[in-house]
Amino acid sequence: MGTLDAYAPIIDRIEALARARGLSFEPVYFRVTDSDELAEVASMGLPNRFIHWYWGGAYKELTTQQNKEVFSILELVLNTRPSHAFLRASNTYLQNVLVIAHVVGHVDFFANNHWYRKSNKNMLNEAELHARLIRHYEARFGKERIEKLLDALLTVATTVNAFERSPEARRRRLIYFLEEKAPLEDFERHLLQAVREEAEYFDLIQRTHIINEGWATFVEADLLREILDPREWISISVQLSSRPAPYTIGYSLFKAIKDGRGFDAALEVRTYYEDVMLIQEALSEDMIRRLDIFVYDPKEKKKSYDVQRVRDMLIEQKQFKGQPHVEVELGGNHRDLTLVHKDEERKLEPKRISLFLKAVHSLWRNPVRLRANGKVYTYDRRGFSST
């Protein structure tokens, strides 16, 4: 699509400005595309990933939201070498200039952030390989069997931790435990590893979501102030503060750091921090009030702006993706698998427990137990029960 030529001069200018500020990054390939492809990549996470019904639901939702113009994807950029980024054809020129500046912030983050050093920059090819492997196994073992297996694997895949290096701590996380100990057949283990690798790729992005979006928005604002005329700049700066929470929280944190300690300090933070460190250090009471973030108790309909509670909850959300903190209980006999919910005060949705345990049981094959809600739930070959 030839229209990319229209953006070549501004891409050069933005990249030059960024480098002059001390940013550094790998080459970025921009691609002009339609909303449909954007929704597709956004819902699957990677352009050539294996096809699963679960992304279908997300894709459907995104396309309807885009059609209704309730929400549109702001930008899409892949942590690969080289990096790929998408510009929507139906955006105005100015909108795409914003996207380009924002993307430059992301690729700088990918190239310099400490936690991205060990990240897999080859994921585009690996995802393609995984997709081929899955097609191959589907032909050999039947689509239904593979689909059921993938459902179970994606369910436990949310327990990955891309940061965790200690084998002991990793073993407490369900997916690593299953990889090591579950009586899986070879093809099942291959698929578990494929799903786990992809989940780790996304886990890193999730664990740095606030700092990464915050940094990109901060860079975008900084570069655009130089490029745009004052009137354009004012309309943009209003827009910047009405973005989804990770953008605005991260942006506020970086602005506070720059205002207090200068641009170099901000650069340093983008190099060494991830979300939890950033929140611990920079999230202030004043900021919480301004962003109107609180811990909400639906039973009492009460809000709490207590800085410690908000901070703790935000951090916990980062560590477990907003999902309950469930660990594998190590030791015990080798046949049964026992999982423990670590935060007894918060109750788990009971309807989901049997479905979850059924999925785990399909991988573990032997009795699976979960201690939560003051009960012990069991799934074994007779089915689901609780005491």
Binding site: A89, M313, G322
Partner: protein, 389 residues
Amino acid sequence: MSLRIHRGRIAQHKHDQLLREYLKQNLNELIQQKELIIDGRVKTQITTLDLPTLRYGEEATVLAQGQGGAGQGQGRGAGRDGGDEEVQALGGLLGGDHHGRELRVELDFDEFVRLAQEVLIDEIQLPPLHTVGRAGEVETDEMPELDDLDRIGLRPDLNLEETMLHSLLRSVRERGVLDYDVDVRQDGWYFVEDPVQYRNHRSLEVYVLDISGSMRGEYLALVRKTIFVLWYYLERRYPTNLRRYIVFQDAAAEKTRDDFFCVESSGGTHISSGFEKAVELLEGATEYDKFLFLFSDGETSSGDFDVAKRRYEDALSRFDLICYGHVNPGSRGIGGFSEYVQETARKYPNATFANLVDVGTIRAAMVDFLTFLTQERSDGHAGRLRTDH
């Protein structure tokens, strides 16, 4: 043309297949909702398909953002339905993935009807009608002339010139490129017959519903199921179906389709008013076949009985076919006005009576109805009433 593999659409197709299975299993419950159509859509209690990951219960505390903060109106997917509008849970948003959504599945009414038809045709075990009725079914001496264009049609009748032009314009509009990327669903234009000339392909269907009695779930379910199955056959028989809806208790009123599927029961019963209103709607109708489908429990007010008889006979002389459905979910006897219609319908070739008790009796009613359609097809017209055309 671009040869892109639409992975998103393939994934969505897989997702929707699963969803359909799920909805099919819950159809009976869904069809009984008092307000079936809200803003043109059917709401369900089913949350969107999700992987069975663990989740906190409704009452657990959450991290949330209020109106005072930024980012409102975006990424609402993470919201939880607490009835407290100004609080938006941040879970999914900060986690960065899609888990924990609480979206209720909604369907277009048309999509819902198609789904219901699939289930019902299967359940009733009537043959699905494969022959499409655009031109084939009404006997006519002339070959239909395809001299008009429409956005809906059959693949063999695709008008290439219009379709390509439309695709080109869409590409320019959406992507700013001069490119043919034909998506028949979006760009297709078809040759069709001029609807005015071929009026014999059109039907007028009047649906009349008695809302006086207790419209319990099963009552509604029987009426709606019967209507959806009727639609299945009528849509394949007539390319153009004009549908009008009437509800009555003491008096009758015409309703929109959406209101017809959301009525509240009330008042006494004057079946006569239903027939009277239906005949009124025939004023100026030019459709080839005119159908009246009336659903009632038959318990008309005593003073209305004789008037209702006269109106029924009057309607019989005006409609090509009147199907009277005695809605009888408890399988009690057939009394009141229904008993009268049951007797009378035998004497008229264009009257049918159905005792709607369960899916089996819907099947019996459909057999009667299809017999009528088949006869009409072989005669080329619907019996004695054709003389006035």
